[in-house]
Assembly symmetry: C2
Homo-oligomer: 253 residues x 2
């Protein structure tokens, strides 16, 4: 198995750092291959603009999708973006490792998605999306730390259901580009638990990563389930899909 970890935390000694080291060591020891993009360590540029490209389609009006399509047709992506695309094509499984900041990915990781997930058929576009996506056949998983406790992220919790909070990532970024989405691995309040519980979390994370190929996945409708207006044909609904995944599945120590 080839696993690509995109890691987004400014402190190497953080629990996020420990999780990525655990994943890397566990996978390597088991004979798998691992690539890590440590976005903070790389000084990855988070801001999507003309610097994404070595080509220019329209110098007078910057339309990102048009520039992406032109770059896709003319080998015109900047080297930092091309390197990330190459790792995406290389991997069998992608892990997004991040602390949940403001109910989403940190800006440096959002910028990675904004810039690397380019249209024009490179990562999506031309009918290549969701189950017909460029990255179909690969798996992807969010691995995230959250400051609050699980009740706060339950169906009636103050923060809202974690499945709703992660929906734009799991469905909107990962499934959109074709990935089969593995249930997220969530660690609550790693600062506030004991060393033993942290070790237990890491052991479970190692197991999850080693079992990525068979770990439980989130089931979304397929493109064929939608009509020409992109509305579900049957009574099956995306809201039901959300409801199915509104509980926190990660076992707690």
């Amino acid at each position: 198995m080839r696993v690509f970890v995109v890691h987004a935390h400014p402190e190497p000694k953080s629990f996020n750092g420990a999780m990525t080291r655990q994943a890397t060591e566990g996978l390597t020891a088991a004979g798998h291959e691992v690539a890590v993009s440590d976005l903070y360590a790389m000084g990855f540029n988070a801001v999507s603009d003309r610097r994404n490209f070595t080509t220019t389609h329209d110098p007078h009006y910057y339309r990102q999708e048009s520039e992406e399509s032109y770059a896709a047709a003319h080998d015109g992506f900047s080297s930092d973006i091309q390197a990330e695309m190459d790792k995406l094509f290389w991997c069998d499984a992608l892990i997004l490792q991040f602390p949940l900041w403001w109910f989403g990915v940190p800006a440096i990781l959002k910028g990675w998605v904004d810039r690397v997930f380019a249209s024009g058929g490179k990562i999506y576009g031309g009918g290549k999306w969701f189950d017909r996506g460029v990255l179909a056949g690969k798996r992807a998983m969010c691995s995230t730390t959250i400051g609050g406790q699980p009740p706060m992220y339950s169906a009636h919790g103050l923060s809202g259901p974690i499945s709703t909070i992660l929906f734009p990532i799991n469905h909107g970024m990962l499934y959109f580009t074709g990935f089969t989405v593995v249930e997220p691995f969530i660690v609550h309040a790693p600062r506030r638990i004991s060393c033993e519980d942290r070790a237990e979390y890491l052991a479970r994370y190692r197991d999850r990563v080693l079992g990525l190929a068979t770990a439980p996945t989130i089931s979304y409708p397929k493109l064929d389930d939608y009509d020409e207006q992109f509305v579900l044909k049957s009574s099956q609904s995306t809201r039901n899909q959300l409801d199915l995944h509104s509980t926190v599945k990660t076992p707690r120590p």
Copy 2:
């Protein structure tokens, strides 16, 4: 009325640009005051790290919340962050103007939130959140352009309900810090509509911005509605709140 627009689009000639110009001109002509943070034009740093601070609490281990609390107590925020905080305190209403990228705000705007919305009681913390938030009494609104058509963002649409997609922003960023959240103003596929329809959208946007003080808002539960585990006491649910707002409210030309 003092209105603060945080604008996140790389192309000044874009429809997002036209919307912010429309808001600025309309508000100014009506005697209101406007401040605009044009994040791309400012070259705003999107990446949250030690550069957020002039102070250092722990040089060996970077914990963002600890550094924020220390900076809040020692006047230690970097000048770019302090300037944005000052505009937040100054305004009566905040507008986030952005294209929906990957079902969320562009990274440069996520970075603005990651960096400016600091804990330690400055923007939140110490019991100051949601209806007891630092920014309570002020209003905030998302104004966003979306590439796809409304059916795709309806309850059973391919992208998922727009209310679910915007929940982490409306509830998790804006209500979290105390804002009263105004219904979003959404423009679908501005590239694919006629000049007349674009003009109509701009006229309606001008009306919405001029009427910000009385525009319809999203009703969320209050902190007193939650128990000590931050779970709703009554049968009222955040999911119901989501359901209430699962339709696209912005009138279409």
